[in-house]
Amino acid sequence: MSIPQPTAVPALRPGYRMQWEPVQNCHVLLYPEGMVKLNESAAEVLKRVDGQRSINEIIAELQACFPSAPELDEDVLAFMGEAHEQRWIRFR
């Protein structure tokens, strides 16, 4: 897995949609004939992936929302790398 540049701007790939599923009590990522259950931190990151915000901006927002969390940079970058490898997101 390659770690993306923090200035990269991630967007969900066309055909991928995240939504809250009350019965499963979690966010899921839906795509052609597939569905992935997301844990809370993955959902918090992906909620902010909109093709506008850079990874840096997303990290800053998360850090502001969760001030008690330790430094998130490394985790978020690793997650973005994983999400890119899984083809959920692409970078602009």
């Binding site: 790939r13 995240m18 939504q19 809250w20 019965v23 499963q24 052609p32 004939e33 569905m35």
Partner: protein, 386 residues
């Protein structure tokens, strides 16, 4: 983003059985093509009745409340239904991820646009082969290949994510390189290279369809070569290769377990745990008589092979039973006459020799495509009478 429409979830406490997550709506058994590996039941011609638009929308609504999030529109050919756009729109408003699984026959620019307006999320087009002649021979239609090419281009031009599905077998699997090249040229986002699973019409035609081990090894090697090439180019297309279980020694964990996450509704409203279960000697409930909640959680049919109380040896004491659930109930029934047997794909099954015999048969010369039994109303009626 939190788009669940106006759904009120059925949040009743169900400690043992999880909800259905996938709904397959087989809108009709009607289809203009005649593929000899169709997964529809052999006696499809006997089931002419179809749910109305309102009945389908009610099914979608009930399944969504239970928890279903993925919805496949399938058939037969779902485009035969004039109300397809209305069904897509209703399902999308409920928060489903909507998949149209089609041959492309009956599709046109107007409908592509109409479905886009209705919110359709994805279109899967099936091909029979990478060249027109073999494709059209398998499909039983002279116009099929050109129509599919045109529609694949139109689907991409409209901005949909597109899956191209090639059912592979001994007559087309050697062209896998050409197949992949065609998919890349058509800019498919996902390519499913799915070898036949031997149910329905494919079971009837198994000897004429099952590839040899050498053919499969070749297909796998070519696919892996392309996967490496695409990965190196950071190419967005994903290749999915489905191998036939006839060359395995352990069965597949069929449908992720009986009545576990999949729910199929057939054209006449019969509810099934998988699309080939209709052939089993089990009474399955119909949505016109029962609520989906009752069907999923309480009906005899959906509980028949849940858990492991129904298992015989060698499954009962097998350490792998949690993983593969004894394999496929339909395959066990088709090959042994008893759906509670181990799937004969398993080398522990006393019936495994049938799988070995089928492999040996694949190494012998087999009749040409023209000699296969094609799936159409006439043959369906003949088969059912005999």
């Amino acid at each position: 983003m939190n788009n669940v429409g106006s759904v009120s979830a059925d949040m009743q406490d169900r400690p043992e059985q999880g909800p259905p997550l996938w709904l397959l709506a087989e809108l009709t058994y009607r289809c203009p093509l005649q593929c000899p590996y169709c997964s529809n039941p052999l006696e499809f011609a006997e089931h002419k009745q179809e749910l109305t638009t309102a009945q389908w929308i009610d099914v979608f609504s009930q399944a969504r409340a239970l928890g279903a999030a993925q919805l496949g529109f399938s058939g037969g050919e779902p485009l035969v239904r004039d109300d397809l756009a209305e069904l897509i729109g209703a399902a999308r408003d409920m928060g489903y991820y909507t998949n149209l699984i089609t041959s492309g026959m009956g599709l046109n620019q107007a409908r592509i646009d109409q479905f886009l307006d209705a919110g359709l999320d994805h279109i899967q087009i099936s091909f029979q082969a990478s060249d027109g002649e073999v494709n059209n021979m398998l499909a039983g239609s002279r116009k099929a290949f050109d129509q599919k090419l045109a529609m694949a281009r139109a689907v991409k031009a409209a901005g949909y994510p597109m899956v191209l599905n090639f059912v592979t077998h001994r007559h087309n699997i050697d062209q896998i390189e050409k197949i992949i090249e065609l998919c890349l040229a058509l800019e498919a986002d996902f390519v499913e290279l799915a070898t036949c699973q031997y149910y329905g019409w494919a079971h009837l035609n198994r000897a004429g369809l099952l590839p040899t081990k050498a053919q499969l090894d070749h297909a796998e090697a070519v696919t892996n070569r392309y996967r490496a090439k695409l990965a190196a180019e950071d190419h967005p297309c994903k290749l999915i290769l489905v191998m036939p279980d006839y060359y395995e020694d352990r069965p597949k964990g069929c449908m992720n377990g009986w009545g576990n996450i999949f729910l199929t509704i057939t054209p006449d409203g019969t509810a099934l745990p998988c699309h080939s279960a209709r052939q089993l000697p089990v009474a399955f409930p119909n949505v016109s008589e029962h609520s989906l909640s009752h069907i999923w959680y309480d009906s005899f049919g959906f509980n028949r092979y849940r858990g492991d109380d129904w298992m015989q040896e060698p499954c009962r004491s097998c350490p792998e039973k949690e993983k593969d659930f004894g394999g496929c109930r339909c395959q066990a029934y088709m090959l042994t006459g008893d759906a509670t047997q181990a799937d004969p794909v398993c080398s522990k099954s006393p019936h495994h020799h049938q799988i070995l015999a089928a492999r040996a048969e694949a190494d012998l010369p087999q009749p040409p495509i023209e000699a296969l039994t094609f799936r159409n109303e006439r043959t369906s009626r003949i088969i059912c009478k005999s």
